[in-house]
């Protein structure tokens, strides 16, 4: 991330190891995300009943969003406590709102 413009020679073996790990994780999550997307399409294509298909797709979506935030946007790294607590705060408010709306208006 922040060693882009560091001289390659200067990166010590520890750093190298770290970067390799990081890269592996990135690729795994990337493959997983593509897989999830394929599964989501497959679920629809297979003609599964909506009552099963919709929750399944929603779950896949939530997991994908998690990967997106934590791996691609580095929320798992240190120094992201404030953004993540703000994001969770926002999710909390939104969930609360939707929950109340659905239960007391449309139920």
């Amino acid at each position: 991330m922040n060693n882009d413009n560091m001289n390659i020679d200067k990166i010590n073996s520890f750093q190298k190891q770290q970067n390799k790990e990081e890269m592996k994780k990135q690729i795994i999550t990337f493959v997983l995300m593509i897989a999830f997307t394929v599964v989501a399409f497959a679920v629809v294509a297979s003609g599964l009943e909506a009552i099963y298909a919709v929750p399944l797709i929603l779950i896949l979506a939530v997991v994908q969003v998690g990967f997106q935030f934590y791996y691609f946007m580095h929320m798992k790294d240190e120094g992201h406590e404030v953004p993540s607590s703000l994001i969770f705060g926002g999710i909390w408010v939104a969930v609360l709102t939707i929950l109340t709306m659905t239960t007391i208006i449309w139920w």
């Binding site: 404030v82 926002g90 007391i104």
Partner: protein, 617 residues
Amino acid sequence: MSIAATQNRGFGATLWDYLTTVDHKKIGNMYIAAGAFFFLIGGLEALIIRIQLIKPENDFITAGLYNEMITMHGTTMIFFAATPILIGFMNAIMPLQIGARDVAFPFLNALGFWLFLFGGILLNLSWIFGGAPDAGWTSYAPLSLQSPGHGVDFYVMGLQLSGAGTLMGGINFIVTIVTMRAPGMTYMRMPLFSWTTFVTSILILFAFPALTVGLFLLMFDRMFGSAFFDVALGGNAIIWQHLFWIFGHPEVYILILPAFGIFSEIIPAFSKKRLFGYTSMVFATFLIAFLGFMVWAHHMFTVGLGPVANAIFAVATMAIAVPTGIKIFNWLATMWGGSITINSAMLWALAFIPSFTIGGMTGVMLGAASADYQYHDTYFVVAHFHYVIVGGVVFGIFAATHYWYPKLFGRILNEGMGKLAFWLFFIGFHLTFFIQHFLGLMGMPRRYWVFLEGQGLDTGNLISTLGAFLMGLGTIVVLINVIYTAVKGEKAPADPWDARTLEWSIPSPPPEYNFKKLPLVRGLDPLWIEKTEGKGKMTAAEPAVDIHMPNGSIFPFIMTIGFFIASLGFIFQVDNHLWLLAVYFGMALALGTMLARSLKDDHGHHIHKEELEREAD
């Protein structure tokens, strides 16, 4: 820019300076000045309402105009007076308190100010373009859908503009506090006013989008023939109420939390004691913000949500009284055993505690859902929210004005006039609103144009109107004080109150870069620590360096003009499609300016350290 060069300049140059400024202190001052102007307009509207109610069956103004008055009074006071004045103080003071040279997004800051100002101007233009909005500051559908003319359209567009500005302000403050604190200024060393600015900004970030969505739906319903709130076409009018209050209840905390912060600065400073229970104060602030999002339906108890929903929201509502109570006791404990100075700022703070507590207690009464069937939409509610908003927020604004005026403008407000204004306003306030509790309990409905003779309402209303005039007098004295101080006021030293926080360690008014060298913060109340255990002034955390400053820009102003023109176009295209041209032109202007801003590289400028050294202070 040297200090000598900022003096004796022409009017044109000064105007240009303010139109293009990105300096958080100037923007803060403009927020305060514009907010004060709207406060006067809102106050005038209040007096007109009270004159209409001075005696039974009065015919001072017509029923239609009366509805416009109450709507404009509420909308102006909440959105264009109280909120912006507080944002002004946050802008001007918070960066000084955390030891920052600027805010994180100076350009956005300027844009936020102009959007607010032109939103307010747009709203008030409705008076001359065929009538002001008249569906109440809550603008409930279906009333707001059926209101004829363009009044409610002005409400929608005016609030949409200023709401966007407020949202930008909130984001800016959050990023500033997270990223720009001085060395050593950990979160738990931040002054309470900075803390409440932070939490308020989070509330803004989460609450304003609900208003934005609601306003968009209302806009589509009124201008483009949709039917979100139109029951006849399958819409649902209750959704507006939910959206409005999901925003609206947090909004009342957006107003009161900064006021809590202000008092938490003033009370320790004039008690010569550290704030009692600092950690619990921070905790209580968060708890209030958290609970504040779960109580909105207490404004809708009588809508028919059902007993389960009402019970849940009633319990959540009453829970807010707990963190609020923690704060009250902490302020009292701060004063306990302190060496107290009673000046104007402190008088407002002292008066706030009992006044606000009364408002909190009536709040808990209203929060009891079954009892609220009796109170709802009566003058009891009017009394409640004026006790919290005037007794809390407005007292806070007056206190902050006395406390920080020297820092902002380099002069000290006159104490004699300050005390006179306080007593006039304080007595007037309680005369006006205390009696309204009883008017409400006797059955006088809210938003009432005339009342009949012989129902026991005459005396109460007369007293209430007289009180309102006393408050008006008090406000005039404040105005005279400000003008008098500008002409002959006593010059303020850097630290006129022997206070505790960082803003008092720099000159009054501060130079444009605030801190010549960033200070090293060694604990809570950093200046006080240095006074008692150190050299009496802040130690620098860095050697003299060149200071990077953002360049001024006219773009925020031009963008705002673009959105303003587009808003007018949206309002009038209902009558004549040619007005769509204004929409296109305005949007093109605004978006084009955004594009220009994005493509243009502007790296700001540096104030060199040699220049800083020459500017002896």
